[in-house]
């Protein structure tokens, strides 16, 4: 068994054997450890490693003048750019943290004693590839011609002066200034897609700088985050590096030239990351569109004839078109990878097809029984039948106590009409709604059953969106939606589905009502 290959491979560089023993004891069950007592040996291993290294950890107990194993880290950055680079040191100094950030060779930095849960979690996350998360953004964000740097500090005079100096130096970004976290977040929302850099002071009234930067990272990981402080707080800096993944830590008072240099390199980094993300997104989108097109073909092959022969030509296409207009949750890399591997995609199609075919077969059989085979125009309802259908609908919309499934009228209705109501009820129930969000109106000889304004039916995922698993609820909800389209069209009524963001509005129109009035 190659269980060893199953574990993250961790290169561990140490300089004292008793600290090594502690480390080994903490992690030997979790990682495959390669122990290196010298940089030479570690570098050699890097050259010849047989598989992907998940992390390079250097633990330094003997520190000479803030020197770190930067050769090892630099080399591992070149050979294994994906690997997490971790430094463990006794009594780390702020100078070390600041210079490490400037060199850009270290991802995490821990002071002793370290929290083994955190290190384990970080290495595992790298191992399973979580750190490279890409999600398709639902709104297309055009690349701004010029970017903003947002400076947040509670000393207006300082920021004003810095802004001026930066402008004199011809800073490549436009400068926005905020005096506290709240107004920073407001500016952030306003200029969201054009902000490239956020520079925040740590100590401000209200939200701390690290909290603000975390909040911003949650919304957009690409934005370059820089922390500044007038106080030497190593813990703050370490947490900002480890938790907030800041780009730089700048000590106050600011030096305009240093700030300028920092912003130039930060902007370059931002553009690099951004183009990388854009590339990945474009790739993801193309692959996703191909996948959905293939899924639609597969579904049409297996359902097209059956659906259209019961509900009329173009019914399945109408269902798909309606879905396309509903904006659902964006695909992620993993949902795509999973679908491309095939098993889930096949299951999705076959489970849905099976559920729908069962329902259509039973509905067709009932329809034949209802009228007998040979009657011309068997699908149409008689005036009396329309009457009882309308009576039931208005009862449902007016009295929320009415239980559709208990209602005996349901059995007397045309099978398509009862399937229509049952499916509609299921759709409503899946977004925690009932018939009371619908209104039933009659004008100009047409009866209309529609969702009330502002009462859209939620739909987070559908048959043409991304999936990572196949929940029972999805199949039920989606087959109910298709059955609704099918039943309504079979009855010769109109259906109008208007897509929105993760929701849709629905309107059914029954012109059959006109003939009822005429007969009277």
């Amino acid at each position: 068994m190659n269980t060893k290959n199953d574990l993250p491979l961790v290169l561990y560089r140490f300089d004292q054997s008793d600290t090594k023993d502690d480390f080994v004891r903490s992690f030997q069950e979790d990682f495959e450890l390669v122990l290196c007592e010298s940089d030479d040996y570690a570098l050699q291993y890097l050259e010849n490693a047989e598989r992907q290294i998940s992390a390079v950890v250097a633990q330094q107990d003997v520190v000479q003048q803030d020197a770190v194993h930067s050769v090892l880290f630099e080399q591992s950055k070149k050979t294994y750019p994906q690997a997490l680079r971790i430094l463990v040191q006794q009594n780390i100094s702020l100078t070390t943290v600041v210079s490490l950030l400037e060199q850009g060779v270290i991802d995490k930095c821990f002071s002793l004693p370290f929290d083994d849960h955190v290190i384990r979690s970080e290495i595992y996350a790298t191992f399973i590839g979580v750190h490279s998360r890409v999600q398709l953004s639902s709104q297309a964000e055009g690349l701004a011609a010029r970017f903003y740097a947002l400076i947040v500090d509670d000393e207006p005079s300082a920021t004003k002066y810095l802004k001026k100096q930066l402008e004199v130096l011809k800073c490549p970004c436009d400068i926005l200034v905020a005096n506290n976290a709240d107004s920073a977040l407001k500016l952030f929302r306003q200029h969201h897609s054009a902000i490239a850099i956020v520079i925040s002071d740590q100590r401000m009234p209200g939200m701390l700088g690290t909290q603000l930067l975390t909040e911003i990272r949650n919304h957009n990981t690409n934005i370059i985050r820089i922390l500044t402080s007038a106080y030497d707080e190593v813990d703050v800096a370490l947490n900002a590096v480890n938790e907030g993944q800041i780009y730089r830590y700048i000590r106050k008072p600011w030096d305009a030239q240093e700030m300028y240099d920092c912003m130039v390199s930060a902007l370059a980094e931002f553009k690099l990351q951004r183009s990388h993300t854009d590339e990945q997104q474009a790739f993801l989108l193309t692959a996703f569109n191909q996948l959905i097109a293939a899924r639609e073909v597969a579904l049409t092959e297996r359902l097209g004839y059956v659906v259209d022969s019961y509900a009329g030509e173009g019914s399945l296409l109408y269902f798909f078109d309606s879905l396309r207009a509903i904006e659902t949750l964006a695909p992620t890399k993993s949902s795509l990878a999973l679908s491309q591997k095939g098993a889930l995609e096949e299951e999705l199609v076959s489970v849905f097809v099976k559920a729908v075919l069962e329902k259509i077969t039973s509905l067709s059989a009932q329809t034949e029984l209802f009228r007998g085979k040979d009657i011309e125009g068997a699908q149409w309802l008689t005036g009396v039948e329309w009457q009882s259908l309308f009576a039931l609908i208005s009862q449902l919309t007016q009295d929320s106590e009415t239980d559709l499934m208990e209602d005996t009228v349901l059995e007397l209705l045309h099978p398509a009409a009862s399937v229509m109501l049952i499916s509609l009820q299921k759709l409503l129930a899946s977004s925690n709604l009932d018939f009371s969000v619908m209104e039933f109106k009659h004008y100009g000889g047409i009866y209309k059953l529609s969702t009330k304004p502002g009462q859209d039916i939620s739909l987070y995922k559908h048959m043409l969106s991304a999936h990572t698993r196949l929940p029972r609820q999805l199949v039920e909800q989606q087959s109910a939606m298709l059955m609704l389209v099918l039943a309504v069209r079979h009855l010769g009524c109109g259906i109008d589905i208007r897509g929105g963001a993760q929701a849709f509005s629905l309107s059914l129109s029954f012109s059959g009502g006109a003939s009822v009035n005429d007969e009277r």
């Binding site: 849960h117 384990r120 996350a125 399973i128 939620s458 987070y460 698993r469």
Partner: protein
């Protein structure tokens, strides 16, 4: 422990369909000083309608809900508020691939219902600032007990491990005090019975809790009762 740099309170929202489990879990969690319950729901859509209004910062949500699946609801909640920290509760242990999918959709930690409640507490604490937390130690058990294809199926049969050794790592006096405490005997009475001062017993109490890794008395009582129960079972086998 995790709250060193004055992180704000966790504003917790819990979505679980079964009331009994939800209550039990909440009772355990809100005993932590920095957790405030701001809402609960048994359904996905109910959760979505309340989350924002209640300004929740952390959501614990069950994967299998009646109306929608927990993952979909999580993605939806994150679309509306990317700062929300979500811990997903799954029925059985998940494979690493599955875990990657969950984390890829923005969930911060996945805890299975077969884990103990401390694991969940830890996950909530580590994810409070939006960090991903993987309980990697959790994956050790699988590897030891399984082979080949059925890598993650052995989970259900795995007996709950009770760390009896931990108890014997206490000194004799500490063991004695722990037994008294498990019977809910007050510090004063224990001091009287052992003929020492209240302060000494308080010191023992603190040391016992630290050694066993517990924060509160009820956890210790549960641990001690389980030890005694197991002890009784073992001796009846002999």
């Amino acid at each position: 422990m995790m709250n060193a740099n004055n992180a704000p309170n966790i504003r917790l929202f819990v979505t679980m369909k079964q009331r009994l489990y939800r209550d039990a879990l909440l009772r355990e969690l809100i005993n932590q000083d920095d957790i405030v319950l701001v809402g609960e729901s048994s359904s996905g859509t109910g959760t979505l309608s309340l989350l924002e209004k209640n300004m929740a910062s952390t959501l614990i949500i069950e994967e299998n809900l009646e109306d929608n699946d927990g993952l979909t609801i999580s993605e939806m909640a994150l679309l509306r508020n990317p700062s929300l920290t979500i811990v997903l509760l799954v029925d059985t242990e998940v494979s690493r691939n599955r875990l990657a999918i969950y984390l890829d959709s923005g969930i911060k930690a996945v805890v299975s219902k077969t884990q103990d409640v401390q694991d969940l507490s830890r996950a909530i604490n580590y994810t409070r600032k939006g960090q991903v937390y993987i309980d990697a130690a959790h994956y050790r058990n699988h590897r030891a007990s399984t082979t080949g294809l059925q890598v993650f199926s052995g989970a259900k049969e795995k007996p709950d491990k009770l760390n009896v050794e931990l108890f014997y790592s206490l000194s004799e006096r500490e063991q004695e005090v722990a037994k008294f405490m498990a019977q809910r005997i007050s510090v004063m009475s224990i001091a009287e019975q052992l003929g020492v001062s209240n302060k000494t017993i308080h010191t023992y109490k603190e040391r016992i809790l630290i050694k066993l890794g517990y924060k509160r008395l009820p956890e210790l009582i549960l641990f001690m009762q389980r030890i005694q129960f197991q002890h009784a079972q073992d001796s009846s086998l002999c």
